[in-house]
Symmetry: C2
Subunit: 144 residues, 2 copies
Amino acid sequence: MLRVSKLTDYGTVVLARMAREPERTFSAAALAEAVALPVSTVRKLLKVLTRHGLLNSCRGQQGGYQLARPPQRISLADIIEALEGPLGLTECSFQHGLCQLEARCHIRSQWQDVNQVIYGALARVSLVELLAKPSNKSIALLNT
Amino acid sequence: MLRVSKLTDYGTVVLARMAREPERTFSAAALAEAVALPVSTVRKLLKVLTRHGLLNSCRGQQGGYQLARPPQRISLADIIEALEGPLGLTECSFQHGLCQLEARCHIRSQWQDVNQVIYGALARVSLVELLAKPSNKSIALLNT
DNA sequence: TTTATATAGTACTAATATAGTACCGTTTGA
DNA sequence: TCAAACGGTACTATATTAGTACTATATAAA
């Protein structure tokens, strides 16, 4: 239903939590505790986010994870791309040649436009906006 | 990967084809032929679109399907909602009480804003835009 | 140098959703 | 009356997602 995966959903929750203390280093266990999610799940999540450059990690005692960039420079688009791969509403908008209709299809380029617009909207929401308590603020921002 | 289902994808192709002859009544077989998709699949698709008011149907010999509204009044948002249910990027944005984190979650309302923005973008693309050959036209439109 | 802590990588199972198809019933025009 | 065409539903196979566990490696502190 045009839904992000649960892992992505969790990702935004976890990253938003981290954004409240952007300098702090969190262990997976501490984060799981803070957002009330299973440790295994949070661990998986953090690994992926690290691999995609949104987090820095440090092993060993006193190790943990830290935001790789200031919160205002980590967007929903970044998070979704890290956890779900490149955004593409249709198969054909993601990669050429997968769709057998491609030759006869007249609407491929239009889907690509739509993708770009949605990407733009998601890119304009950073962890800072995500964290902002009151609503309607981000909306205003997004519609510029 | 933030992707619409194949059925939705097919739906846009089929409806775009119908929009090229907005007054014409198409049988499922004729449409399937026109867009090179299996008849069974197209049949399923048309039934759902009819149930959701995007098409009018007529049974019997000489029966078939017809756009229920002028093409400029049928949007991607309509199509996606018909085939995938109400748009909601996260579970919680769709319905209250599903997510156990809700009480402790600070970003629910932000997701709702994001949904609205994406809905708006999809609502602004009608079958007419979808059909328009050259690209970058819809983009300009969408960013207003 | 040893040990406890913490991440990295991977693999696996279960549950869910999607894709695709078929069948039977009903309506309607010729 | 018959054939064309939609309506509803059910079913199977496949793919994806969700959740979890296990082993290896790195690091800081004792």
